[in-house]
Amino acid sequence: TTRSWDFIGFPQQLERATTESDVIIGVLDSGIWPESDSFNDKGFGPPPSKWKGTCQASNFTCNNKIIGARYYTAGIDDSVSEEYLKSPRDSSGHGTHTASTAAGNPISRASLFGLGQGTARGGAPSARIAVYKVCWGESCFLADILAAFDDAIADGLDIISVSLGGFSDQNYFRDVISIGSFHAMRNGILTALSAGNGGPQLSSLANISPWAITVAASTIDRKFVTKVKLGDKTTCEGTSLNTFDLKGILYPIIYGGDAPNTKRGKDESESRFCGKGTLDKKLVKGKIVLCDSGTEPRGAFLDGAVGALMQTQDLGDLSPFPSLPASFLDLQDGAYVYNYIKSTRTPTATIFKSHEINDTLAPMVASFSSRGPDLVTPEILKPDITAPGVSILASWSPISPPEVEGDNRKLQFNIVSGTSMSCPHVSGAAAYVKSFHPTWSPAAIRSALMTTAKQLSPRTNRDAEFAYGAGQIDPSKAVNPGLIYDANEIDYVRFLCGQKGYTTRTLRLITGDKSSCSETTYGTARDLNYPSFALSVPPSNTNVSGSFKRTVTNVGLSSSTYKAIITAPQGLKIQANPNVLSFNYLGQKQTFVLTVEGTIETYLLSASLVWDDGKFQVRSPIAVFNA
């Protein structure tokens, strides 16, 4: 966050609503490290009166910043360490990172051993945090997640941030996050969900609830590179978060495949990957090792190597934080280093400390970020939006076990990547919007974030809307969206009535009222008043035809006239009827129908609708795709 908020145009010195301190963000995660400066409560008054939660104190104390903390152990098994069982304290660092990204205090001169230095801060630094620890290690049991939602909704939150997920059932009400976020929505709480790290495969989304906001991860303009110099004076650049400085001293370099631990029966085919126990300590000690692997060089570290170079096909966007000087090289540079080692009598190399460069291609959706379409309801476009999620620096838990045993460094901050990191950017942005508009519904806040998002280009982003939804969040603009696409519980029930697997009986149980599907059904998912448009064309069919009915609510100028501006690719004819909407007062609603016709020759076509009154531009993405 030392760069991410500034990169998306959300500077620290921005007008804030005094009511920001009344906003409460609930974080379902691995707990929190309460002693972090991110959660100091200096200047915070007592919790807002709506707060009804509690603090499960043990080796943990809440304050006026972290106003609530609970932990859930119903699902944990014997494999979980006992040490931190009875506390909301974060032993992994993940929950501390996400909570500080959403609502952490500003901390100047934050860095990871000098990398990424700047002011770390949350999106809504005056907001309060309520912690619900549901994850132990990497595992988050469903019974605990559901219990946390049960409490969190009753505690009086405004936003729930959930940077976890997994397989989603075809039925929304067999998935705990969908169940929890549905009841959150009924209670006026917006849930922000991480899209998942299953990309770049299509339909790899881990969270798809239509009543929540699903967040993809994209890059910022700060990129970390790690320079490597060989004895022949050749230099190349790899990626890593190398916090060590070899001061330019050249060390002998050896190929991992030439140093097998034969005493333990290992041969070249194993030692080339530098796994634990595969290398001969005598051969690698004091040297830099070249490994044929893209993962943490555990063996090289444990066997006393000075450094490691990993050659890998997919550098991806995840910048690893190695336990020794290391750089991840692409295959071309890796091959050069290999040939240099093989052709030189005394090959040497050095690895420099990582440095930052300006990534002019940003924002780009991360390769790992899960893609749509949503297989359960393809005509609800997911993910909804994207936010920074690559190499994000935020607070960390100093007791978090290092990746490699024996690496005893303690971290106050860490730089990590994932949709876990992008999700709390949206939670913080949603809290910021909520602080200006305390009465807005979850759907209204989602609409404001989506329709004001910065448009990304399908030319530079693989899978276009399936990767980034409406685009990159722009919280400053989201406070004044002009128009909103609102929806409430009844709309979602009507939507569910039109989907397979939801009967009047089950929906009555879920809502507790006497609604009947026969009276209220939306024929297709396209009728849900969503701020984006997704039209699925049956397989092997090139003809496109469909329509969407939408209602927009005026939250801009009391008297205004919006004109529809449609951008469509060749082959698609898209029209809004009417194409002019006039408003005479705030809160006035107007309805229009968007029709799409034409042909599709590729799997995905990107278009957009903008309602423009000269002051506000209300943009919705349109995705037409072949199922």
């Binding site: 049991f141 019974a143 049960d150 997920g165 067999r174 705990v176 790290n197 999700c423 879920i510």
Partner: protein, 86 residues
């Protein structure tokens, strides 16, 4: 089905919450009785959701879980598996 090894932890989701926590618990207990063998040891509610929606956690066999899913008042029944941090 009486072999404890066959038991798995399931979540039974019952929709919106009931106002009276006591009656909710007795309804859940009665549901467990309905699905289990009358000769078997009585089953207990391991945890129940009571603040914002209804439901409970119990150890069931696969067969009992299937029967439970068909009971009046039950929206869904699914095993207590795991999700992961992202």
């Amino acid at each position: 089905s009486k072999n404890p090894d066959d038991l798995k932890t399931y979540i039974v989701y019952t929709g919106s919450n009931m106002k009276d926590e006591g009656s909710a618990l007795s309804i859940y207990t009665s549901m467990l009785q309905k699905v289990s063998d009358s000769n078997a040891k009585p089953k207990s509610v391991l945890h129940h959701y009571k603040c914002s929606f209804g439901g409970f956690v119990a150890k069931l066999t696969e067969e009992e879980a299937d029967t439970m899913a068909g009971l009046d008042g039950v929206v869904s029944v699914f095993p207590n598996e795991k999700k992961q941090l992202h």
